[in-house]
Structure formats: C-alpha cells, structure tokens
Symmetry: C2
Subunit: 402 residues, 2 copies
Amino acid sequence: MPTFDTTGARSETVRQANLAAVLRHVHLAGPATRSGLVAATGLTRGAIGALVGELGELGLVVEQPSTADGRPGRPSPLVRPDTANVVLAMEVLVDSIAVAAIALGGEVIAKHRHERPRTQLPVEITVADLTAMTTDVLAELPSGSRLHGIAVAVAGVVRRDGTVMVAPNIGWHDEPLAERLAAAVGLGLPVIVANDGDVGALAETRRGAAAGLDDVVYVAGEVGVGGGIIVGGRPLAGTAGFAGEIGHFPVSPDGLACKCGSRGCWETEVGEEALLRRTGHPVTGGRAALDELFAAAAAGDPGVHAALREHARWIGIGVAGIINVFDPAMVVLGGLLGRLMPYVADALADELATRVFEEVRAQTSVVAAALAGDAPLVGAAELAWNRVLADPAASTPARVGT
Amino acid sequence: MPTFDTTGARSETVRQANLAAVLRHVHLAGPATRSGLVAATGLTRGAIGALVGELGELGLVVEQPSTADGRPGRPSPLVRPDTANVVLAMEVLVDSIAVAAIALGGEVIAKHRHERPRTQLPVEITVADLTAMTTDVLAELPSGSRLHGIAVAVAGVVRRDGTVMVAPNIGWHDEPLAERLAAAVGLGLPVIVANDGDVGALAETRRGAAAGLDDVVYVAGEVGVGGGIIVGGRPLAGTAGFAGEIGHFPVSPDGLACKCGSRGCWETEVGEEALLRRTGHPVTGGRAALDELFAAAAAGDPGVHAALREHARWIGIGVAGIINVFDPAMVVLGGLLGRLMPYVADALADELATRVFEEVRAQTSVVAAALAGDAPLVGAAELAWNRVLADPAASTPARVGT
C-alpha cells in the first residue's frame, strides 16, 4: 500500500501558493521592492527573498536596481516580471482578427491586427490567417523568448473544450477551433478558446475600469452584444460555460429578428446595426459608416443626437435589467457601447432613474471600458497567463523568437 | 508577544468541519447508520463514532435502533436529528403571513398561516401579528424544545442588515424589520430577514426540485415576481445583497406600469395581475379569482387555454433571457408560476425553442417548484439553520415550549 507524506504535500502546496502570490503581484501591480512584496503578501522578508530567488531561477522575474528616488541611501532593487516570458493572445471578431505577443506584466511586445470584410468566412481561412500572423508576430520577438500559452477571444458561444458552438455574426457552427488552431500553429502548446465577453470581463477586472472589483458585468457591444459576468470575484460560467449572453435577453419580444434566431433581443436594439439604422446609415455600412456617425455626433448634429437619445434609452433598458438581476458594483460598457458613452451617458442615467430601485442604483456605477478595443487581446493574454500564475514552477514554455 | 498553537487551531477547525459534515448529512439526507455516515463523509468509523458522540452530547442527534429490515443480524442503530431542536421560520408575503417551528431534519412541528387582505399594512401591525403567532406556535412545542434561530422571508428588497429597503407590493420602504421583530419577539435571538426569492432558491436546492444542483435560477412568481439565483453552489448576492430581481428585467419597455416605478418589467407580463387580466378576471380578484381560473383551466375552457398560451409565451420570453444569461442546470418556477406549469409547459417549451440557442437549451430543464407554497418557510428555516450547520458546537439555543 502506498504511503503519502501529507506534511510534505501541504508545505509544497503552501510554497506554490506563495510563489503564485508574488508572481501575480508583480504581473498585475508592476515592479515592486522586496519590502513592497512583504507588505502586499503578508509574508516575511526571508520568505520573500527565497520566493524571489526561485522565481528568478525559473526565469520569470529579474531583480534590478530602481532608479534613485531622491531619498538618501541606496535605492532598493525592484523585482520585475522578465518580459522574455510571453503568451500569444488572439481575437476573432466580426470584422477583425488579431494576434499579439504579450509579456508577463502586460507589455504588448508585438501585435498584428487585420480588418476583414464581414463576409462569413469558413473556419479554415481564419485558422490559416491566424497561423500566418502568428509566424509574423513570433519573428518580431527577441531570441530566447519563452512562450507559455495561447488563448483566443471569439465573438461566439464557446464550449469548455474550445469548440465554438455557434457564432451567429461570424457564421460558424460547432467548430473545434482550439483543436484546429493548435494543430495549425504547431508550437506544442494547447490553445484556450473563450467568448469575447468573458475575456473582456477578465481584462477590465484585471487591468481596466473594474480593477479590484468582485461583482462586475461587462457588456461587449460590437456588431453582436455579448457579456462577461464576474460574481464574487469569479467568472459566471454556467453549467456548460455558456453563461453571459446578455445580448440575448428579449427586451422587445415582437421586435426585429435577431441573428440568434429569436426576435427583439437586446442586441437588436443596441448592436451596431440598430445604431446605424437609428442614425440613418445603411446597417451594413460597417466602420466607415460608424466613423461618419461619430464625426457627426462630435460636430453636434441635432438629428444624430436625437437618434442617440433613443439609442441611449435602449441601452438603459438593458442595463436596468442587468442591475436589477446582478446588483453589481459596476457595469462596464465595452466596444462600440463604450465608445458611445460620451454621447449617451446622460440619457442612459435618466432611463436608469425610472427603471432601477433607487437603493440599488446608488450602489452601481456604469462606465465605459478603459481598455476599449484592446480588451479582447488583453483578456485573452490574462487567460493564457492563468495557468502560470496558478503554479509558476510547473510551466514548461516553448522557446520562440529569432 | 503572544504565541499561537497553530496545530491546535487547525485540528479544531477540522473537528468543526467534520461535526458540521455529519450534522448536515442527517439534517438534509435523513437518518443514517454509522456505516452510511462513513460512506457519505469519507471519515473513518472511529472518527464518525466520536463525532456522533459529540453531536449527541450537544443534544443535536440521537441514536436509535432502526426497525428490523428483514436481513439477518442485529439492525444497525440510526443516527437521527433530535427534533427537540427547532428554528422559527416566518413569511411576509403580499397576502399571507406565517410562522412555523421547523425541527432539525426539516419536520414542521407547528405552523400558523393567516391570509390577509391586500391592503398595505404598516410594519407595526405585521410585527405585532407575527409576534402573536410566534406565541401560539411556541405554545405548541413540547417542553425542553431548543430554539436555535429565527429567519423571515419577505417579498421585498432586503439589505444585509435585515432592513427591507423596498417592498412595492406590501407598501414598505426602509423598514428595519430584523431589529423591530427581534425586539418584539424578545427571545434573545437575532432575526435574519431575506428576500423571498433568495429563500425559495435555498429551499428548492436543499429540499426541492433542484436538490444537489449547483447552477439554479428560482423564479418566485406571486403577485410580484422575484427570484433567487444559485451560481456554483452559492447564492448570487450582488454587491449589497439586492441581486436576483429578475421580475424587474424590462421585457416590454413601453408596456404597463410596474409597481417598482418602471414600465414593462417581466412582472407586468407574468405576475398575478397579468394572469387575471389575460383570463378576463378582475386584476384585484386575488385568491378567489385564481381558484376560479384554475377550475376553468382544469375543465378545459378554451378561452382560458388561449389566454394561458399567451401567458406562457411571456413566461417563455423571460425564461429564455434567464437561460441565455445564466446557462443554469435548472430553472425552477415557484409559486403561481409553478402552479401554472401543467397548463403552460408546452407553449413555454415552444417559446424557448425560438429564443435560446439549441446547444444551450439542451443543458437546462425548466420545472415547477417541488415545495410549492411552502418554499418560503422551508427556505427561511434553512437560512436559520445555516449558522448551526456551520459550527454545531457554537449554537446556544433558547429554551422554549410548554
């Protein structure tokens, strides 16, 4: 019968948790002195010394003298993430794809984004494009770079195994994207695929408008409207990982047909097509029409402003429902909805005043996303870092760069 | 400098967790043999013996011979909750108030429910009524009963401190119910106040249709429509405890005025008034009108069935939104909505088929609550037991009974 050294197992777990706490701190809060790490983690100076040493041996952090701060005495060295450690973050949205190499600590080392027409392209073409862009991005990395993971944000409903079950605005159905992309990219690393709303919520709570908050609803407003929900500091996944499709709450049940097959989903009233329709643009006008619209709004065009007030009313209707259901500390409006905030904030607040109990409304702020268009890539990178942040010693990165 | 015996502290925590595990098992799953407890908890026979002994000394369980089961050998004794341990569960709904004494293990020892007219009564009258009913309930308990806690389910938005912030269908605003009731009842025990939807969700996941499920949305459908949401096995509270007001998601934004001050909330389409209006009854007809309606439905009245199909459509619209947002394993329809299920299930399923991605819909069942009208009292009792179940040795019950 095997025996287990449970004491050893326990101290191993504690060591792993402490390594993780130190790495997470420098990854999210930036370079820190050893004293800063003692304060941030509650660990002793001796323990921090050992952990920083081990993270250095793992190649994850470097210790460098800080620049003199004007105070007397020798400046304390700063523990910094070693930016030779990177992940690949990708996005597949309705009219763009992108690949970026993002370093431990969050610095974007290389980024390629391609705008694409809104034709529904087969998955093979997207996989080939992402693979080619990956080659370009990796070629820009210095030699000795270490690749720890790959994650993709997709505007669609994604199952836990990385299959895109349905992406109505991209035209995919039941596509095993994680598997296809891992095979095509061929770096020996698994690929994580996640919904763009879930990834955006991670980005905004780690590095954006909602940093440090535990109860947050992120609304990913683009052509489609998705969402990512953080409850008590954890992502709301649902029973199969499909939760968060707040764009498909019916708010106008006999309204316009939605690409999901239903009618009058919130997306049909606040998505890009609704915005273009209300402001008198062709609904398929895409980026050009949006640029024209924002220029007119900035110039104070009264017709556009009237249309935006109506649009704001519909944004408020859905946000009111979100607040009543989730009582979040913050609702973060991302993508197109975030970009609209300067023009819709007042009318949105008026709508909330009539639709949310005052006592509940007082607890919640509604803000534009801080990361704007970069939220999917930033969030995908954080998703890829999660495994390393949970167990820093266990990551076995691939060597990349030239 | 103080020193801490951390080994001692840890084994104390482990002992408390093990006591809690055994008590929780007999409370929820019913009487069990020691072998059954070994199997259920993974603890050794020796540990179970010690824990059962300690729970016996605390007066929380008794061990009694089981009835002979026809198999050879002496029957194993059964560990049962000692039903001298009780909590007081109360409900304050729009047209009823109730007080029950519910024993460890779930048996209702005494219950008084008063139907009330729907006049909006001041909180003083409700507190006085509940206090008088408590006296009556306690008088029915055997002497030597031990009262461990008091909890109240209220059809309103409740802050964590037990203040009813707003109860639109009862007419209360900013009422410190927990404080008033504790003072009036005078048993030296704190009073927990919670929203009826949250309490119903607890009841159905502990003792009802959703027992054992981790991702559940409970819809409390009465005069108003509330809800309680369980995410990953934990209640979704929100930042101030106000989450779950799914009756106030706007589904018909220019529709009827809602008592919350908004328009076209889901409650205005699926609450009691909407049901009575659609079936041609006076909206203030109350229980008598509902009884007439259910009799007509049972008799196959075609006009009523046509109206119920329209009602089912609106139930489906909201449930579709709930599934798209939460991807729960189960949506439990409670109260009036549960009572309607035999008549609306088919039309509801049709509506879901057009409004929820097939892949998501396949994961979720939509069912009537198993506890029906008792959910608020059962859930309030579970809420009151939580503290005892978390730390059985720490409870200091009041002596009650005659």
